[in-house]
Symmetry: C2
Subunit: 434 residues, 2 copies
Amino acid sequence: MSQDIRLDVSYAEKFVTEPEAEGMKPVVLAAQKTLLEKTGPGAEFTGWVNLPETYDREEFSRIKKAAEKIRDESRILVVTGVGGSYLGARAAIEFLSKGRGESGLRVLYAGSSLNPDQMNDLLDELEGTDFSVNIISKSGTTTEPAIAFRILKALLEERYGKKGAAGRIYATTDQKKGTLKELADAEGYETFVVPDDIGGRYSVLSAVGLLPIAAAGGDIDALMQGAGRMAEICQSDDPEKNPALLYALYRCALEKKGMEVEVLSNYDAGLHQICEWWKQLFGESLGKEHQGLFPAGMDLTTDLHSMGQYIQDGRRNLIETVLDVKNAGRDIRVPEVPGNADGLQYLNGRSLNEINHKAMEGSIIAHAEGGVPVMRIELDRRDEDSLGQLFCFFEYACGVCGYANGVNPFDQPGVEFYKRNMFRLLGKPGYENK
Amino acid sequence: MSQDIRLDVSYAEKFVTEPEAEGMKPVVLAAQKTLLEKTGPGAEFTGWVNLPETYDREEFSRIKKAAEKIRDESRILVVTGVGGSYLGARAAIEFLSKGRGESGLRVLYAGSSLNPDQMNDLLDELEGTDFSVNIISKSGTTTEPAIAFRILKALLEERYGKKGAAGRIYATTDQKKGTLKELADAEGYETFVVPDDIGGRYSVLSAVGLLPIAAAGGDIDALMQGAGRMAEICQSDDPEKNPALLYALYRCALEKKGMEVEVLSNYDAGLHQICEWWKQLFGESLGKEHQGLFPAGMDLTTDLHSMGQYIQDGRRNLIETVLDVKNAGRDIRVPEVPGNADGLQYLNGRSLNEINHKAMEGSIIAHAEGGVPVMRIELDRRDEDSLGQLFCFFEYACGVCGYANGVNPFDQPGVEFYKRNMFRLLGKPGYENK
């Protein structure tokens, strides 16, 4: 079990006056109450709030069995979904350094774009290698995953026959209705449930995320335990004891003061996809009615050498949140060499994890001095327990921010506009004249 | 030879009134003059302006020979650099779909972070595989690549002996001085030049970018030809004939009206790294003195399912620029199946490239209707000629925007702050008390 997540706001405090923080406190407390009591707009989509406690144990154990079967039968699992149907799983799998074959199974992704090159590259990878498919779609009609699934299904049936293919397809979809559910029942796929009361971007701890994570070798018991502990912490109305509430408080106070962009920084490539997941969570939940901080991710120290100048001295309308994982997976030391020909003598024999953390400290101080409020989320290590906490932390904080901003954090009305245009341009029946 | 790049501003026009465009025109024309006549701040770093014409032919042919030698001797080339020292090369290599082994050589990257996991992953890849290293650093003292190079050099020397290692190391560095130049001369590495009059983010068409691109199998003659043609086009003072000038004009007019974020969208995973390169170019050139649009990249349609809601209906302070590559590399068709069980009958047999482009059209219209000015950069295909044009297009446009904004687009004073803190925290001699 890892230590609990902490939030360090010491480099944000000078940007929020005491009266501002005090003034925002009742706003976020009321928002938290609305969330926990399920009395706000979109309350019918807050099933994730209780998920670590109420999750379906029977399905949970079926997930573990299916994960084992996938690993037994295949060298590759193709997770086929878009947006909230894969971002959480992918974030988890990369955070845990899984899915690259360590457990005997590689995880690849399909159905998140319409790019033919990506699909052809995937088909190249699948040549001569046994694979299974987890198609994840509430309705089954979202264009990207539906096309990818049609292609993958045809390939599976060609290779393993209709019955063999059906045994390698796992459908995570609506419990009762919809195109994919009907197809799964007709063809005999094993199915898992996208709950009705949980939107895509909050669904990582349902079967949507759990099956791919378990297949990749992740310990989903530990994941749920970490989430459960953080869910309890998130009940507290004391920001000193509840880091999600503290994060929401500062975030809202800073937005109210005119901030427009939030950058989520990591110093560890394994967290890149956490930033992608977070961008959907916060962008889609809060970016509406012409409001919301624009969410952006940064991979550091890499991006200090591209975006660092902007962060340090560009427009002063941004806040930075840093994901600080204390312990790297596999450390490595700077080789000791005699002399100082490369100017690195002072680093002889020192650990990269240490040097990376000094760069983080140095950047936090520099950015705060340059006028950027910085918050730091501290995690012990990249394990399932910390990850469960992190997912839960962000989801609660996001729900609170939404209600504090006066928006419904659980809808996404803007996502439909381009689809209507696309369907019309493609001549989809029913859309010709829209 | 591909068609010349076009810029479509029809979905941005309604956001800029005629008087606003007319008012901005003399500003960008004056900025263009300052750039071309090299009379502005930072003019000593505008060597890239003439590069497609004046480049060193002797070095160019040495680059081609070295590229061949690398492919003969190695299965992997490790490009070791950070920021402008690798972003252009990587953007080019991925744009051209090279570097994954097609030419017999894979290109991997090191020295762009301090993350120990990434370094360990790289060392795993190098086990048992012949490799060469291109270390790219003007000074040789930048921490990330210097550490990576120390590790890689030790590995090469262990495996091939001191002399064998020296034959596999290619140093792109200062022509005359500096830590890396001295080391290269002492050890006998072949060296290439980071020109004095070209900053990192404008250096992709110098040896900095050309050696890795050529090694990966890219046609650098065609690249320079495309760049040369665009450089000529960029001399024109007529925005109707000069797309870089038109882009600068709209960008500046929209920024003046209060826009704060620019999103560069692609619909092709092969352009992801172009967005990363562009973020440095524009972020570092224009993000200073508390000014500049915040640059962000989007991979579509993927990110329509995460950032789409924000783009459609979040804060109305953003502009979108779309990279539209007309022809995909390898197309693929939706398999034809009987019936309509998956709701995709209307797409039976249609090309993914076509569907992807309809999604693009649909999104551009939707975003513009939602209040986002959209510009579209149209490229024929992902080849060297188009790429040379694109690099040149953005570099000229960026230089013009900088002078139009009244900043020096060729310095990056903000990048040093975190380094000073980091050196102090690491106890680097000379930084103890800073």
